[in-house]
Amino acid sequence: MSKKDVPPQPDSLATPESTQGLLRELVAHLRQNRTQLREEWARRITRAQLLTAMTEEEIFAEATSVYDNYVEALETGTFEALQAYARNLSERIIPRGVETHEVVGIVLLLRDVLARSLFAKYHEDFTKLNRILDAYEPAANRIANTVAVGFVQERERIIRQQQEAIRELSTPVLQVRERLLILPIIGVIDPQRNRQLTEQLLRAIRTNRAKVVVIDITGVAAMDSNVANQLVQTVEASRLLGATVIVTGLSPEIAQTLVTIGVDLSEMATVGDLQGGIEEAERLLGYKVVPYAEAAQQA
């Protein structure tokens, strides 16, 4: 009394409306079996050893809200709420060390669990099953995509934020004497870092009323003509604010490279090491450092 009695009815037409109808039916099914499907999913997550950083209760709680959001996205066909939820979820679980493959893994597991339940429900009516799957699969894939992309974007945002923080930390401008600043540069200088470094230095020159700046590049491993020209720009910009720049710590390799590729550094005052640079700066500022005993003798 199956196929012949109940021929494909209004939703036999493959129009968007019929897809809508099928999705509605699907959502009703998922709502009805919420508890059971959710538990099945949480079980499979544990069995697949995903989300090991979280306790079982947490997994179940998250699974519940993911499930509800998932069903809602299927129902409404809009992904904004899910996107927001995915971002929020990522924000919470990324600090706990949850990996991309785990997030993608659990969403795919949910897709499989739901697909299995559809098989179980419609296995007698193959045509109907096919049509239900036709409606379900694109939506499910889009949901998986949305969650995965949301997670990766959130991770990238955090990485960018941290990069920025590291950059800020890595270029301290220090005052060693009245009107004398030192700027030790360590690591790679790229255009973005150079820009930030120069802006920071110029601001510091202004607030500290610096007359001399010693830039120490002992920690810079390599230099090409681009970086060298950027350094010259930094020196020039400082001079426009009335500060003299002394560059120290050019390694033998860098010195050879710069001369070989023909970068003109004649405008730049260079001293061998940081100590020499500070001594030269003190001379320019009119300081004279004398050992205490010697000074007492002279007095």
């Binding site: 820009r195 120069t198 802006e199 110029l202 601001r203 020159i205 202004r206 009323r209 007359k211 720009q233 930094t234 020039e236 910009a237 400082s238 001079r239 426009l240 604010l241 009335g242 500060a243």
Partner: protein
């Protein structure tokens, strides 16, 4: 807008208060060079603290002022270039080569005092 030029001892101080047109800049240059002779000034200070943009014409005019004033016997210092302006200038390759610069008016005066003393000692 005309830039006021103040006389302070042996020095002339031109303090730019707002963005200037090219004509204003040329006028400033002529006025300064004329007054260097009239007041027998030994130093010129141009204060650009109020400028948050400097184009190539402005930079060239400042450089011209410095070179012309030197020919007339006065040293020029440009003071008060903003950090952002300095950064933009070097990116555009406008670096005021051969022109003295100082942080602010006070530093500019100190610089001229030192230069001046040197000259008197030599003379």
């Amino acid at each position: 807008m005309e830039v006021p030029i103040l006389k302070q001892g042996h020095y002339l101080i031109a303090s730019i208060q707002s963005a200037l047109s090219d004509a204003d800049l040329s006028q400033l240059r002529e006025a300064l060079i004329a007054r260097v002779g009239k007041f027998r000034a030994r130093g010129v200070i141009v204060d650009v603290t109020a400028l948050d943009v400097m184009d190539s014409f402005a930079v060239r005019t400042l450089r011209d002022i410095a070179h012309m004033a030197r020919l007339r016997g006065a040293e020029t210092v440009i003071v008060g270039i903003q950090p952002e302006v300095a950064f933009a200038m070097v990116q555009l390759g406008l670096t005021l080569k051969g022109v003295a610069t100082a942080l602010d008016l006070e530093e500019g005066l100190l610089f001229l005092d030192r230069e001046g003393h040197g000259r008197i000692d030599r003379g």
